[in-house]
Structure formats: structure tokens, C-alpha cells
């Protein structure tokens, strides 16, 4: 059961609690009929709430603190995961984790930003905001994967690259640019999944691949709605409007031709049933990887570059 409850989740969670309570007493009292009625009611409520979510509400779902994070998916989807650390140059960035693992019988390199769940772990993980050495660690692991012909999976969940003084000293821009450059011609299949927040260059720095997938309740854009509001509206209070204007949800990005596929989540979001969310994701990843493995490397890279080359609309 969810520990954090968003405003629009409240009526659903309350009804669910009531049903659970009634079930406890249903052995001594005959409440079968009432329970059925309530269950129908909660189902209808779920449908109407989740189908009518605004873009801003979806942003909130994407940031839900009970949502599975990268390591949760790795633990639920893979076996024999061995985490690999460091960029071999400066240090190990804890905002990003990566390593080798089996996805069923498929050996893969899996990399993703990692958020924390409380103050202490968030400080340790820097809220999932990577420093340059994080991008360089990720690139090192991707090259390792390519060397041994293992597919790469990246899981994206970040409020952005870290905008700190030392990050600039160590070349945040160069680190991200280098990843875009190298990922675009990395000689192995790459599948990208937005599992939470995909904010700007900090997300894209792990985001160039053959297939780009978005989980149903996630967002991906050039800027967060809050920062967009502060810059374009000169106030922090237009985040709802900014979210609408940015058209940043999974269906939006599918329509824009920027992502290839939406991964369905359990009703109410991945946090309502993490094992089920992981099971769905795993199935789709295996399917995508097996298709990509059939392509010759040259063709794979050519198609990858073509795919990104086509993005964007203009008039001539």
C-alpha cells in the first residue's frame, strides 16, 4: 500500500481501505454484496481518475516517492546483477548505477539514475542528479558492453544534470555531449526507458538508443515545468500551464515521434504494484532486444542515427 498519497489518489485509497476492513469482518458478517458494490465503485473511480489526469498530475505520478527506482527494477527484473563502479578517472558517481546482469537468459548491461527515498539516501544519491563523472562512468560501461557484444539498457529517472560549481569545473556539458556522440554510434543494441522523470540534457545524456520507451506515467522534456514557469512566466506558480504547454507526457511524445512505445503500468501507476510493473517492463525489454539483435551492427547504427535525424518539424 502506498505510503505517500497524492491529492487525486485520496478517494481511491480511502475506498480501498474500507473494502479491506469489510473483508476482515466478512467471515462473521455477511458483507459479500456490499463488498462487490464497493469494488465496482472503486474500479469506476480508478478509471475516471486515471483517464482524466492532467499533465501536471502525471508529472506528480512520475515523481511519486513510492515509485520503483532503477535499483528496484534491477532487483525485480534481473538475476546475478553485479554493480560496476567508477569512471576510472575521478570517482564513482552515486547518482547513477550500472552493471551486468541477466534478464532471463539474456546477459545485459543495465544503467540508470538512482534517486533516494529519504533525506539521507537522497543526499547520497544527489537526488538522481548526475555529475560529469557519472556520464563518464555510464559511457565506460556502455563501451564495455559493446566490447563484449552485450545489449545496453538505460533507465532514466532524473530531475536534471547537477548544476553545481564542481560539475562545471569537470565539464558537465562536455560529458553529456560526449555521451550523445558515442551512444549514437555504439556498436551494440541500446534500449532506453524513461521510468520516472526525464529532465533535459541530464536525461538525454543516457538517452540515445535504438528504441526509446516511456512508461505510462512519466515525463520527458527539455525543462521541468517549474523551471519553465520561472523562466517564461517569471514566476514559479505557472507549473500547471507550463506542463500543458510543454506536452511532456508519454502519449504526447509518442505523437511527436520522439519515443517509440509506451509501456503500460498497473492501474494507478507503477507504485501501486511494483512487481507487476517490473514484469511488464521485463517482457517488453526482452522482446525489443531480441528484435534488435537480428540487425547487423552497421544497419543498427545507421537506423539509430536516422531515427534522431528525423526528429523536429520546420518549414522550408
Amino acid at each position: 500500500m502506498a505510503k505517500t498519497v497524492l491529492e487525486f489518489e485520496k478517494p481511491i485509497i480511502e475506498l480501498e481501505k474500507k473494502i479491506a476492513e469489510m473483508k476482515k469482518y466478512s467471515e462473521s458478517l455477511d458483507l459479500g454484496e456490499e463488498i462487490t458494490t464497493l469494488e465496482e465503485k472503486v474500479n469506476q473511480l480508478r478509471k475516471s481518475v486515471y483517464e482524466g489526469l492532467t499533465r501536471w498530475q502525471k508529472v506528480q505520478l512520475a515523481r511519486h516517492p513510492d515509485r520503483p527506482y532503477t535499483l528496484d527494477y534491477i532487483n525485480m527484473m534481473t538475476t546475478d546483477f553485479i554493480e560496476l563502479h567508477g569512471d576510472r578517472s575521478f570517482r564513482d558517481d552515486k547518482a547513477v548505477v550500472g552493471g551486468l546482469a541477466f534478464l532471463d537468459s539474456e546477459p545485459v548491461m543495465i544503467i540508470g539514475q538512482q534517486k533516494g527515498r529519504d533525506t539521507k539516501s537522497n543526499v547520497y544519491r544527489n537526488f538522481g542528479m548526475m555529475n560529469p563523472e557519472g556520464y563518464r562512468k555510464a559511457l565506460r560501461l556502455m563501451k564495455l558492453a559493446a566490447k563484449f557484444k552485450r545489449p545496453v539498457i538505460t533507465l532514466i529517472d532524473t530531475p536534471g544534470a547537477f548544476p553545481g560549481l564542481e560539475a562545471e569545473e569537470r565539464g558537465q556539458a562536455e560529458a553529456i555531449a560526449r555521451n550523445l556522440f558515442e551512444m549514437s554510434h555504439l556498436p551494440t543494441p541500446i534500449v532506453i526507458v524513461i521510468i520516472g522523470e526525464g529532465a533535459s540534457g541530464g536525461a538525454l545524456g543516457l538517452g540515445v538508443g535504438d528504441r526509446v520507451l516511456m512508461m505510462e506515467n512519466t515525463w520527458y522534456s527539455v525543462i521541468s515545468p517549474e523551471s519553465c514557469s520561472s523562466i517564461l512566466w517569471r514566476s514559479w506558480s505557472f507549473k500547471e500551464q507550463a506542463a500543458e504547454a510543454l506536452k511532456l507526457t508519454a502519449p504526447d511524445l509518442l505523437a511527436q515521434g520522439i519515443i517509440d512505445r509506451i509501456i503500460p503500468e498497473p492501474l494507478g501507476g507503477a507504485h501501486r504494484n511494483p512487481p507487476q510493473a517490473a514484469e511488464i517492463l521485463k517482457g517488453i525489454l526482452l522482446e525489443e532486444i531480441s528484435k534488435l539483435k537480428k540487425l547487423k551492427t552497421e544497419k543498427l547504427i545507421e537506423k539509430r542515427i536516422d531515427k534522431f535525424s528525423k526528429m523536429g518539424e520546420y518549414e522550408e
Binding site: 544534470a161 560539475a167 556539458a173 517564461l232 526528429m311 523536429g312 518539424e313
Partner: protein, 281 residues
Amino acid sequence: MAWFRRSKASISTDAQRKDIPDGMWTKCDGCGEIIHKKQLEQQFYTCIKCNYHFRIGSKEYLQFLLDEGSFKEMDRKMKSKDPLNFKDSKSYKERIKDSIRKTELFDAVRTGSGKINGQDVVVGVMDFSFIGGSMGAVVGEKVARAIDKARKDKSPIIIVSSSGGARMMEAAYSLMQLAKTSSKLAQLSDEGVPFISILTDPTTGGVTASFAMLGDLNIAEPGALIGFAGPRVIRQTIGKDLPPGFQRSEFQLDHGFVDVVVHRKEMKETVSKILKLIWKS
């Protein structure tokens, strides 16, 4: 100069842009010196006293980077479509219209081919005066096509950047231009054709985090602000003032992200020399 006289209908020699000082006299932002327009032009829009490099547009830059009359522009009229129908306090369509009227440009980069001391090159020069030099689909596509041309013609490509980053009003489309331009550069690199990146004031955000940092050589003009996050955002993050010279060209050189800092008046000869050193002729 011949190359813009030919297309006088859209670019007139006396068009005044916001970043070009108005009137005959102008005050240097670096030292306060009052400089005459003619003298400023002669000095490549830099201050004779303190070396301050004024922000200039593609028209001015191309005049002294390329051999006279050699520039042939590509995709000049490519324009934004406003695919998201974006509106904040003002509609994006209005912003585009106003910028086109004010700058007499269609977007924030001008691309084409030309010669540097007789050497064929492909070139792109950004215009900060057009919505802060921001990169949306038009800038991304024009840069990508210029890189394609360099690859097909086996001509070195030189891109002069000045940009506030990705254009918010095209949202995810803008973000994807980082991937588009970088992947085109990877293709170019795989074929051994050189790319020289020239970073001018300011080059930040998504442009720095894509093509501007990916030069085989990165050259910066003196004193240019170059970085990923803007100084205001960093100040907010760390909660204190930034050290003097932070994110300037000389800082980037010291930290290993630009190869060389070159005064604007020596830019053409430096590029020419580099091309002779690394490229057959």
C-alpha cells in the same frame, strides 16, 4: 561584401540588430571606453583598450572568417513551424514573427559553404539576437544538414556558437536536436573529416552539451561565457557567489575543455593554420 549584396532583399547592410551598437558611438561593456563605429568594425568588434569582444551576428562573423564573396548560404528560409502551438505570456508564433522582423533572419543559425584562404569549408554561425541563439528544430536541422554536406564534400566544417541553449518553446523537439547534431558529428568523425568548434559569448546549455563541445578542436574567443548551467542557476544551487572568471574561456582552457583561446582578429588565420596542419590541401 559581395555575398550579402547578392541577397540584399532580405539582408541589408545597414540593418541594425540589438547586439550591434546603435548610432556612431558606443560604450565598451568591458572598460567603458567610447568607441567609434568605424573603429569598432575595423577592430572586429573588439575593444582596443581592454580586448572586450562584443556580441556580433552571423553576418559580421562571416565577413571576416571567410574569403570575400565566397559564402553560399544553405537553407536560408527554413522557419519554425511551432509544432506544439506553444504559448506562455506570449505565443511562440508571435515571438518568431517579431524576431524575424527585428533581426531579418529566419532563425538562430546561418549555414553554408565558403573558403578560408582558398580552402573549401562548410560553415555555421549562430545568431544570439534570434531568441537568445536558442536551438529548436530549425537550428538542429540546419546544423545537421551542414554536417552532412561536410561529410559528402569531404570539407572541414567550422561552427561558431553563441546560444542560451535549447529552445523551450519546442520542448522535447528541441532536446532531441542535441542528439541529432551530435549523432551527425559522430558520422562525420567516423569518416575522418575535421570539425572545428568556435565558442563565443555566451555558449551555454544544450548547445554546449552537444555540438559546441564536440570539436576536434575547440577554440574560444577571450572572455566568453561557456558552460552547461547558467551562472544564476549555479548560484542558487550552491547559495554563494561564483568566483571571478568562472565559466569564462580562460577557465575552460585551464580545466581542459577548450584547446586554445584566440582573439577574434586572429581567428581566420588560426583556423586556416590548423586546417593546413590537420587537413590535406
